[in-house]
């Protein structure tokens, strides 16, 4: 194994650069180092001006999403040795405005997420004295996969529809809505419906499937979206044919 590997990192300094410029750094090629470790080494030892987001270093916080050799990845979950002998191209997460270097503006997602009401909604809240809401393991399985989302936004980066139309509500938001729609404790599916079935909701999705391929947690947002398309379409047809039936 070679001693070092080259990281080509996108640098963007607002007001100075018109567009990102690639800068090369030599970092030690250690067997257990992730891309994030390489970036940390750069910042500590080589170039303190490099900016990037990170937090948990273990693939659970969703902070360190970047484009590595053209693919959306968590920089803490991809290893230098996977790309040896390199060079490794590290760019900011695609489809988001770049604030500086590898830091992107995620306000779009942060604004969209609350619109799908990602929390348990009850028609009537049970009083605390009534005890916990009970749920069988089967009922948990119905939505568990969609609860694994870290909000890392790799799916938005992979989605061609989102790249063309930033109004598209996006894979993670819909998957998170489904996490609650399919939760046996939740009674709020009707409240989420308008946002999800708007033209920039599920109907803009063409099941490319790249979101699910990019997801580091196996959430399968594409599957969540397709299932909801069927649910919403079936409901619309029922309402058309039997308008008086109370949902």
């Amino acid at each position: 194994m070679a001693d070092e590997i080259t990281l080509e990192v996108a640098r963007y300094r607002p007001g100075v650069d018109a567009e990102p410029v690639m800068q090369q750094y030599q970092v030690p090629l250690r067997e257990h180092w992730a891309i994030l470790d390489g970036l940390t080494y750069i910042k500590d030892q080589l170039d303190g001006t490099l900016s990037f987001r990170w937090s948990c270093r273990m693939g659970i916080c969703g902070s360190c999403g970047m484009t590595v050799n053209g693919e959306p990845q968590l920089s803490c979950a991809t290893f230098l040795t996977d790309y040896a002998p390199g060079p490794i191209r590290v760019e900011p997460l695609r489809n988001f405005p770049v604030i500086r270097d590898l830091v992107v503006d995620i306000d779009d997602f942060m604004t969209k997420l609350p619109t799908v009401k990602p929390w348990v909604i009850r028609d009537v809240d049970e009083p605390v004295e009534a005890g916990e809401y009970l749920q069988t393991p089967e009922e948990l399985d119905d939505y568990k996969q969609f609860s694994m989302c870290l909000n890392c936004m790799l799916c938005y980066s992979a989605c061609p529809v989102y790249s063309l139309d930033q109004d598209f509500i996006g894979p993670a938001a819909i998957a998170l809505a489904q996490r609650y729609n399919l939760d046996s404790r939740d009674e709020g599916a009707e409240e989420r419906r308008a946002v999800l079935t708007s033209p920039e909701g599920i109907w803009a999705c063409t099941f490319v499937g790249e979101c699910s391929a990019a997801c580091p947690k196996g959430v399968d947002p594409a599957g969540a979206i397709q299932r909801y398309k069927l649910t919403a379409a079936t409901q619309s047809i029922k309402e058309l044919l039997m308008p008086r039936i109370k949902r």
Binding site: Y12, P14, G15, D17, E19, P20, G70, R94, N95, P97, V98, I99, D105, E138, D141, P160, S163, L164, T206, F207, V208, G209, E210, S212, A213, D220, A222, G223, Q226, R227, K229, L230
Partner: protein, 126 residues
Amino acid sequence: MSVYQRPVKLFWWLEKRSYVIFVLRELSSVFIAWFVVFLLLLVNAIGDGAASYQTFVDWSGQWWVVAINVIAFLFVLLHTVTWFALAPRAMVIKMRGTRVPAQGVVAAHYLAWFVLSAVVAWVVLR
């Protein structure tokens, strides 16, 4: 403070293999529409009698029509294969409380396809 927005190329889908396959899959719909046109021409030919049907068969036997139909057939197969592969993601079927595994759903589709094709072939060729 100026943010940077990476522009999207016109042919963005040429940049990645999975995107290319996706666009080919989407283009298969054009060949599905071509099949409908071809089918209606065939129906018209059959309805006009044996001579007109023979003329149609001769026309569709020309090398360029066969070429179009071979290409169309490949695209239609792409449609079927990708459709069946994605079917389990869109429908979650439960039998006796447990989810039917994805392979089961796919296998059921292929079985239906095989049976239906056999029935059609038998009806046409007997």
